[in-house]
Symmetry: C2
């Protein structure tokens, strides 16, 4: 059986929401083409990401990257992509109720990702951070005081109540949700190093999960390879010291 | 075969995200218990919604309402609830690719719902609107100028490219996505009557879908029954005239 060709379409300069999908492919050891990262001369680049979305012949266009091209179809929305890939990459629970729970957790992770983005862009994504700095400070203060503790407290509880063994959120095998959770913690630690140092001491199970994700042999190899895009200030998780109180 | 008992757990005083679920039950004509809306003396009320989430014996607790209790399980996250209910209520496409597309669109609707909420709460959900009025004005101006046109332009295109017949987003039969889209337009029209009057003239297909949803016999009956909670300023869609420019 010929293997399926997976193409991921996402911006080349940031981890962003694409990284949640990349980590699933990397952990599974399944080949994928990261289209924007291949040279323009070979049919890659960010323009191809835009053209794929804006193709007037496309009957089911995505709203925004990341999206997947597989078997001639486009699949958008990060949680939807992962719900599709999960069982195919061996990274989802085997039973329907477990897969529903995985999707529910993934959507809760997505909520925190969106809230994190808005700490540096509380007014508008189309304005620079510098043009909404005052609002960003106010929002970040609240985010650190209320939202991070609320979400991390919830996720800690989810691991605690998991009846499986090991550091994971669902059952005893790693799923795409664990990879996304690890990535989220990693990003928050990058963006808010001071606040997260305090928070992670209160959440030992999340600390353990985060370490376990980045200790996976294939994830370690991926990080060491240099292919993982470095954290930077065009990304969702940005290190702006005035926001980390 | 005994019918399944569906319990919806959501706050009693607002349409909120619960309304997307309510509309699916109403359109399907399937009985559900709206737990917070029944009297406390009969085991209802908002406290029951909180207790259900915070039950320490619950292995898979939801992060926030709305959530569903069905066959002894809790199912959270609006899009996840609708993905579960869709096929069971006859409100989802029959093929797997269609259901994936429905979920993708529902998640894009959810993104706009979250952005709408943040127009009046750009700094923090735990502060009053009055304490973030200046930021709310700035965010709403951007929301009206850029985000509403971008999202509605996208959804208009989705209807235009749908190969089915009728006013719907997917195929030729109404799905839960259409109900949610109708509700979203309805809420935006309530919150931003001036801006939306201009916008809807540019999006005839969305206007037609909105009318078609609220012309469905069961939805009409539901709205007329008085059971639909009225729009109000504790909800996601709030009418604050200074924000509607």
């Amino acid at each position: 059986m010929p293997s399926v060709k997976y193409e991921l379409l996402y911006w080349s300069g940031l981890q962003g929401r694409g990284e949640f999908v990349r980590l699933a492919f990397e952990e599974a050891g399944v080949a994928y083409v990261d289209v924007a990262l291949i040279p323009e001369s070979q049919g890659g680049g960010d323009d191809v990401v835009v053209r794929g979305m804006e193709d007037p012949r496309e009957k089911r266009p995505p709203f925004a990257p990341p999206y997947l091209r597989v078997r001639g179809r486009l699949i958008g929305q990060t949680a939807n992509i992962l719900e599709y890939l999960g069982p195919r990459l061996g990274l989802a629970p085997r039973d329907a109720a477990g897969r529903r729970w995985a999707n529910q957790l993934q959507l809760t992770i997505a909520d925190l990702v969106a809230e994190t983005h808005d700490t540096h862009h509380p007014v508008s994504s189309s304005l620079y951070y510098e043009d909404q700095k005052r609002e960003a400070k106010r929002r970040s203060r609240d985010f650190i005081a209320h939202r991070i503790p609320k979400f991390l407290g919830y996720f800690e509880k989810v691991i605690e109540r998991n009846t499986g063994t090991g550091p994971w959120m669902i059952g005893s095998r790693i799923t795409y949700v664990d990879l996304s959770m690890g990535q989220l913690i990693d990003g928050l630690r990058y963006a808010f190093p001071k606040a997260m140092a305090r928070e992670m001491r209160k959440h030992p199970r999340l600390s353990r999960l985060h370490k376990a994700v980045f200790a996976r042999p294939r994830i370690k190899r991926y990080v060491k390879s240099g292919h993982r895009i470095a954290n930077n200030e065009t990304d969702i998780f940005r290190r702006y010291p005035p926001l980390d109180t």
